[in-house]
């Protein structure tokens, strides 16, 4: 069987389908060989090679010999090069989708593995904290101060903006309803209690998860990619002590302070709405706020902030330490740190709220 190739064989042109060749091959008894006539062939590129590779593969399937003598020398050389290294056994990945049960099983195994890794990381963090208490933990004071700066002073602008706006929103939403009863003064109660007891801590936690948790994951993940963590380990320095412990310490200590600041900013937002929108006096608003907020509310907010601080630091550092060794892995670790941080904040809030309800506080 002779296949005549003529005209331009370029990728930019429409290449002929293999069906005609397949049909002709099916009609042969298998004893004939396939040869090529390229006298009319114009210019060619990978399009011709792709077609020829497909023809050769088809012939191999049907045990039909291929005579490549009629092909241009350049094409022959490239075909030889492309077929020089035989496909490695088992190298090709299956493209088919796994059955549903297998996928569920795989997801369950992944979840279990991830749970174990999380527990292991929490355990190692606790052990590092114990070593800190016994004075055996090793980290650099300069690093601690640097992280302290990043997690406190440098976070103030964004915390100010977001919590001020949250205070404003709370006050606006409350004012619409309370105005109906002429009880607009209670906007101060709503904003004060809402911010101090929950919203201040939650908003600060979410800001820190997006800002600081992501930065922790990216920083530690990049160190993983650059083998810096391996270098720490071979120097005999525990990455848990050197990298994770100072970050956890700083966030656990600074989050309650940031929460307190966020509470004040939220109350300021409410005050702006109260004074400018509801014709309340500044002193009147402040007195109502002080009357409404109990110390218990403040402690609950600060405790929540402390818990969120630990959760954000754990999520950021854990995802950083689990990071793979590629640029995309750092991106994945960062995303995962933010998601884990925010989800754990919401879960912790639910638990704290239920506990407070049970304890009657």
């Amino acid at each position: 069987m002779r296949i005549s190739l003529s005209g331009e064989w370029r990728l930019v042109n429409q290449l002929p389908s293999l069906e005609a060749v397949a049909g002709e091959l099916a009609a042969t008894d298998g004893s004939t060989a396939v040869a090529f006539d390229t006298r009319e062939l114009g210019s060619w590129d990978s399009g011709l090679l792709t077609f020829l590779m497909a023809v050769i593969a088809l012939c191999a399937q049907r045990n039909v010999a291929v005579e490549r003598g009629g092909l241009p020398p350049g094409v022959n050389r490239l075909l030889t090069l492309a077929t020089a290294v035989p496909e490695r056994q088992g190298a090709r990945r299956g493209s088919g989708c796994l059955p549903l049960l297998a996928r569920i099983g795989e997801a369950a195994c992944d979840f279990w593995r991830s749970l174990l890794e999380m527990l292991e990381f929490i355990g190692e963090s606790a052990a590092a904290f114990v070593r800190l208490l016994t004075g055996k933990a090793r980290f650099r004071r300069a690093d601690l101060l640097q992280i302290l700066q990043e997690c406190s002073a440098e976070a103030l602008p964004i915390v100010s903006l977001i919590t001020l706006l949250v205070g404003l929103i709370l006050a606006f939403v409350g004012a619409i309803q309370l105005k109906l009863f002429g009880a607009q003064i209670y906007v101060a109660d709503l904003v004060g209690i809402g911010m101090v007891r929950a919203m201040g801590a939650i908003m600060t936690g979410i800001i820190m998860a997006g800002r600081t948790g992501a930065a922790f994951a990216a920083r530690i993940g990049t160190m993983q990619v650059n083998e810096e963590i391996d270098a720490l380990q071979t120097t005999g320095v525990s990455p848990m002590e050197f990298l994770v412990l100072p970050r956890m310490l700083v966030l656990a200590l600074m989050m309650p302070l940031l929460c307190l600041y966020a509470d004040l900013m939220g109350i300021l937002g409410g005050l702006i709405v109260g004074v400018l929108g509801l014709d309340l006096g500044v002193i009147e608003y402040c007195q109502e706020t002080v009357r409404a907020i109990s110390l218990t509310n403040v402690w609950i907010g600060l405790f929540s902030g402390f818990v969120y601080g630990i959760l954000v630091a754990l999520a950021g550092c854990m995802r950083g330490m689990q990071c793979g060794r590629s640029a995309s892995a750092v991106g994945d670790a960062t995303t995962s740190a933010v998601v884990t941080g925010i989800v754990s904040i919401v879960v912790a809030t639910a638990i704290i709220t239920v506990l407070c309800n049970i304890l009657g506080i």
């Binding site: 160190m223 083998e227 120097t235 005999g236």
Partner: protein, 267 residues
């Protein structure tokens, strides 16, 4: 005449990631003062083997001995103590990016010695000077070139005057002159400090310039197929895979499919 003094003994080592076996039955000895090369094609597990030797990855089976001590069966505290006798230079340099070059070198001195800060600073400057980086003490890794990072990595690896220096692809990404200077530096360290040097590389020029012993691991067979001085392997080894590797494929040695050529273990 004093015979060779075994420093690192690898016995029946199998490396695996989960159920996937990377290499099996690796057994070789690195003598004190050797410049020992771990060589093989890309992806055969050279760097993973180094990770097994320096305590970053535990073997699936088999042992690594440092002198008489079984490294992986030692108590964690003892293993950590043994690790302080290693210096490791990673492929990328792996300098801690938030620390200056002097701080990178000084960190292990701060942790494991009782030296005063001024003395530590002097030692750090000396180590940097030894690798040609005098005056760069206050530079951060991001401010220096790739070749300088590698040299700073060597200075950090030498901080505690280790008994064994490990190098992972030291000349990768360097121009030929810088690679040659790095080879000279490795030899100089071996000569002057008597350090045992283990190098993971597939750079032939470096292999023939510095090595006196080696192991060749093969991805296809998943085991070692040659040991000995690379220069002798080039002359005496008939294994086609090893010959192809050592001659950059110019030997055109072909293996008979279905029949594996004999390994070459030179004494």
């Amino acid at each position: 005449m004093i015979g060779p003094d075994p420093h690192i003994i690898v016995k029946d080592l199998t490396m695996a990631y989960g159920s996937y076996v990377l290499q099996r039955d690796l057994s070789f000895t690195v003598n004190r003062g050797d410049v020992f090369i771990i060589m093989g094609g890309s992806g055969c597990g050279k760097s993973t083997l180094m990770r097994h030797l320096i305590g970053l990855k535990a073997p699936a089976t088999g042992s690594v001995f440092y002198g008489p001590m079984n490294f992986w069966e030692a108590e964690p505290r003892e293993r950590e103590r043994m690790m302080r006798r290693f210096g490791v230079m990673y492929q990328s340099g792996a300098l801690w990016s938030s620390l200056t070059l002097a701080e990178n070198v000084a960190l292990s001195l701060e942790l494991y010695t009782t030296l005063k800060p001024a003395e530590i600073s002097e030692i750090a400057s000396l180590k940097l000077a030894l690798v040609g980086l005098a005056g760069f003490e206050e530079y951060y890794p991001a401010e220096i070139s790739g070749g300088m990072k590698k040299r700073a990595g060597i200075a950090r690896a030498m901080a505690l005057d280790p008994e064994v220096l490990f190098f992972d692809e030291p000349s990768a990404g360097l121009d030929p002159v810088s690679a040659r200077l790095l080879d000279d530096l490795i030899l100089e360290l071996r000569e002057s400090l008597g350090t045992t040097v283990v190098v993971v590389t597939h750079e032939l020029a470096s292999i023939f310039a510095i090595a006196n012993n080696s192991v060749f691991i093969d991805a296809a067979r998943k085991t070692m197929i040659a040991t000995g001085d690379p220069k002798r392997l080039l002359k005496e080894c008939a294994n086609p895979t090893v010959r192809n590797f050592l001659t950059r494929g110019e030997a055109k040695a072909e293996e008979n499919p279905g029949e594996l050529a004999a390994p070459c273990f030179l004494a």
